[in-house]
Subunit: 381 residues, 4 copies
Amino acid sequence: MRIRYGMVGGGEGAFIGAVHRMAARLDDAYELVCGAFSSSAEKSQRSGAALGVPPQRCYDDYASMMAREAVLPAAERMQCVVITTPNRMHLPIALAALARGFHVLSDKPATATLEECRTLAAKLRSSGLHYGLTHPYTGYPMVREARARIAGGELGKVRKVLVEYTQGWLATPLELQGNKQAAWRVDPAQAGASCCMGDIGVHAFNLAEFVAGVAVRELCAELSSVVPGRRLDDDGTVLLRFGNGATGVLIASQICIGDENNLRLRIYGDKASIDWQQMEPNSLWFKPLEGPAQLLRTGVSGTGAEAAAATRVPAGHPEGYIEAFGNIYREFAQLLTRDKAEAADGAVPGISAALRGMAFVETAVGSSAAGTQWRELPHLG
Amino acid sequence: MRIRYGMVGGGEGAFIGAVHRMAARLDDAYELVCGAFSSSAEKSQRSGAALGVPPQRCYDDYASMMAREAVLPAAERMQCVVITTPNRMHLPIALAALARGFHVLSDKPATATLEECRTLAAKLRSSGLHYGLTHPYTGYPMVREARARIAGGELGKVRKVLVEYTQGWLATPLELQGNKQAAWRVDPAQAGASCCMGDIGVHAFNLAEFVAGVAVRELCAELSSVVPGRRLDDDGTVLLRFGNGATGVLIASQICIGDENNLRLRIYGDKASIDWQQMEPNSLWFKPLEGPAQLLRTGVSGTGAEAAAATRVPAGHPEGYIEAFGNIYREFAQLLTRDKAEAADGAVPGISAALRGMAFVETAVGSSAAGTQWRELPHLG
Amino acid sequence: MRIRYGMVGGGEGAFIGAVHRMAARLDDAYELVCGAFSSSAEKSQRSGAALGVPPQRCYDDYASMMAREAVLPAAERMQCVVITTPNRMHLPIALAALARGFHVLSDKPATATLEECRTLAAKLRSSGLHYGLTHPYTGYPMVREARARIAGGELGKVRKVLVEYTQGWLATPLELQGNKQAAWRVDPAQAGASCCMGDIGVHAFNLAEFVAGVAVRELCAELSSVVPGRRLDDDGTVLLRFGNGATGVLIASQICIGDENNLRLRIYGDKASIDWQQMEPNSLWFKPLEGPAQLLRTGVSGTGAEAAAATRVPAGHPEGYIEAFGNIYREFAQLLTRDKAEAADGAVPGISAALRGMAFVETAVGSSAAGTQWRELPHLG
Amino acid sequence: MRIRYGMVGGGEGAFIGAVHRMAARLDDAYELVCGAFSSSAEKSQRSGAALGVPPQRCYDDYASMMAREAVLPAAERMQCVVITTPNRMHLPIALAALARGFHVLSDKPATATLEECRTLAAKLRSSGLHYGLTHPYTGYPMVREARARIAGGELGKVRKVLVEYTQGWLATPLELQGNKQAAWRVDPAQAGASCCMGDIGVHAFNLAEFVAGVAVRELCAELSSVVPGRRLDDDGTVLLRFGNGATGVLIASQICIGDENNLRLRIYGDKASIDWQQMEPNSLWFKPLEGPAQLLRTGVSGTGAEAAAATRVPAGHPEGYIEAFGNIYREFAQLLTRDKAEAADGAVPGISAALRGMAFVETAVGSSAAGTQWRELPHLG
């Protein structure tokens, strides 16, 4: 039985909505049954039609969608809402979904502020429903391999974490040239307190904690608005101190001309290190204290069960971003089809990852504003 | 409207069947409605059930499938057969499909012999139906870019083509250890006259002609059975002479320990050269006579319309094998939904590619058997 | 006429002394005529004998060397002293050399403290002699290319500088296991106030300013002693602010298991970026705002005069560390053979680079000790 | 005591002569005492002066050099002749040197024909002198590592050898545009029977046998003259059959636009494989049948004694072409300073390698001329 889902956002011209749908299709575990695909009712209809959604289930807005789906017969109505809108809309949509009994799978960042995320967490707790956050980079087989090796002690004590996520697409003032993707990201009213950290820094942060298996305790940030006139950060560096005594550096930037989507994670322990790059995701360097470096590869002998479970094709057939994204979708579907609700914070990033991500963004913004001061991440219990 | 397809082969434990299905799902342009998934009726049922195919449309064999689907109402019955069986079955299944009016999308090689392929071509011609051959490597954006650049004259006259496809998975006698994938490939009764050339050499040959835009006129081959006891080739080199005077080398091997799926194509003109590797498919080197080498990348400015049409996500989000395969599926669907039948030999490899591929395999086998003699490829008019 | 030089340090078992000598030989512009190769007189004799230095010119200590060489006939005595000892000895040796009228070519860091370096600068100024500092990474052809392109405006305004230098060789307490190279570096009495920043951070800092053509104005550092019991830093990150408004990050670490000598420099302007890695030194990425990335290569068309002047062999024949080092030696020889003394701060790093390097180390140590505070680099006029 | 050598060729504007001299200087084991640097007496004088050679030892031609050096006092006269002229001169110079009692270190190919090489071998045998052939690629540490591992059985039985050496510098008719390097290489009167195979194919052949430890028994070649009007080959492919039953492919080309000096060697055994590329010479892939690929690196733990002996600087400091060349020089010096004459065919390629190289070139030319026929390599006893 496929999970019936509705989508908010992701209409014509949207990039990430199409990715969500391809990811959902890959294992045939989902069925798109409705949507409020755009803030324009007409565009929502047109987008839905192109996707084969019946006209009566292409809604004018998310509120109508929640209300009208809720009264459909149980076997017909959607079970899960996928949120792919600008950040500011994430909370109201998620709350409306939870209020009507729909599970939520949301693009990142979880909300526009940490406070909003706490509200979401409280509602979620009382709802008994599932919440997933699409940090797709955690779905790559070699990311799973790295995580498993560190959890298994192969790196020894984690000492140093270097994570970087650099892009060049905001190196010019695209927001003034009609680029909608850029426009909302640099607008505090739509994006929240941060552009760069909220858009990609939070991915880097999530990935670092996901793989390293240790939590950031405090940080110290310098954020910049490099392109003249921009109100939010488009570049920044964050020094990290982890709970176990390790240190780290997180570099995120959107003004790095020539960098496509350079997400790279290096973790050094006292026994070995790992090095992974998103743009060649099927390779993972494992470097022991003694002996030659080893190149672990998706599907090749020498990798473990976690990687294998996230692998779709034999070695040498590159798996990409959509497959990684699809793994998050598949695992979220597995969560939903289990008998009882449980936290989505195993492989699929859930509300804990959401809270930590928002805490990261806000603390980084605060640290930078205070002149690169060390700040503890707030308690998220 | 999605295209309704049935699948022959691709049941439990099959690798390539699952890839076909993921490729078919990616753009939501297909619907799997029936299948004869295994030579075992029981396994076919079980495989179909796992895929959500109704029991009554999980057939015991391909003949029943053709017969019974043909009598279903037009709006319900399958429109297209996907063939993912060992080579020897390709022809009878394809002929049965054509006889009942179903389009055919077949895994490669097209048939077990060139003679069979000529038979297929003749039947196809009179049928008015479509035939596609899944050479998925032609679906990568950067392969399209290379092809477009050569067609546009950016390399000048093509002078030299180096294509290699090396793997290591048959470096040991897996066929004696219960590996079914290996067993049928090294068995002349199931695979035809060649293992290595029929399995991967034919991909390399197809890719070389697809991109270079010039046709091989004659060849000279040395094939080997490296693993003791093997009856078919598991390794070989083929010298190529193209119609335009260019020369080339095709190296294919399945005993190259440590190589995963190393398909690489280099083409040298008198103005520039290109270099592409399947295992890093989103990169394409373009090297002009003067000035620095350029690294063309999927989704990055500097690539053209052909690549863009085959691209799904923004730059830096790796596209992989399934996406390339999906592009073939999408383009085959576009062929099928056009008003009138036309040859599938544009972007989707069709019967011409099928004939040339089989001619390549047979000529290479013959040349090698004759002591590495130069042989012209037969006329395929 | 070859320049006659004497060496202090660099005896048996020393690594960097041998590199200096190979660099000096490469262009036949130097002749080793004397030395105080070790703090042990016997070892100095033995080392000199192995190098073909006459016994009477293998001195027991640097003071004797200066005194006795000074009284040799002008055509015979050394003209230049090469210093390859632990840091603490750099100043006294350099001063002794200058006092006797010998030019100085010193390994880095220039001295143990900034104060010492100021003393050196003052003496040098009044001496009319030449001083060179071996930051060999500035000698690579592609580093020269990057510098020339930035100076020529090809990157536009420099916005961001990322420089990292990570190694793994001090990941374990080698200093407790008889490794002399490690022992003096982690000993404040021999190395000065810093291990990691003084040993490799200073190279990264020098390279960044050398190539970017903009000066660091203030910095903010966190240094760590990762290996238990170590008194000096073996790891650190330094946030940088440049005079032109650009920001940067400098990461240096000696506990990064599996990293060999990973010095990498990325500079982003508002028109283009560059990316260079010491371990593949003959490649330089140049990435313009529009169009594909270009791979500039030593000796290949597309590179300019500065790179060509530092290139020894045709394209495709890798030039390495010794050649880069040799370029510094060659250029220092060119300085010495010119008619009148002039500052060595063109291509060869000289006293200005020395002062800036020591200012960097001390300011970083101070900033870290003060809790990661922003500190201006002292005025070095 | 340094070895006194004289050089024939290598004057102003020559590329390889300068490389020989840098290689000779690196370990201070040689001293250039005389030369006949050019076929023009005036240019020979000028070249020698620039190199610090006394005018009376800058000879007008090689014959004078041999005659006049031979009558100098033993402690003064040259001991060894280095030959860096076009191929056709190699034999007469070498014979003249041997006749006067001088050792010979010659650039490749050894002679212009196999017959000449046999003559040389016969004279050498009776002379008791040493002969070395500069195949510098055999001097790289990672080439030594590969060779040692294969000799030690780590690859098991060698099954397949792929070696390629592609360049682009002769892709246009440079010989008609005043390029002297090109002019003599494409002229049968100066180069012999082959351009591409004699210039670079022979390096590839030598490297393959040096590392694989098995000898080619027969070959089958197709050579081409791609650039119109050229009389000698500028491109070719050679199929190889080794004595132990392995097969191989050797691709050499000088018309591969964009390729710098792409010498790559892959060897596949039944237990593991290796992969080495000259343009990143400090890396060697070792890929076992099971488990991840290992990246062996110059100076890093995991490599053996043979590599270590050829390594000059610590890990991560790239060693390049000049260092590899210098290793050949150093080892030849070691041969010369031993008590008794012995064959130079250990690490330094000697007369056996010379004979095999010439046999390779001639057999390839013959095979191609005969229509790509299999030919045995002649008996070289």
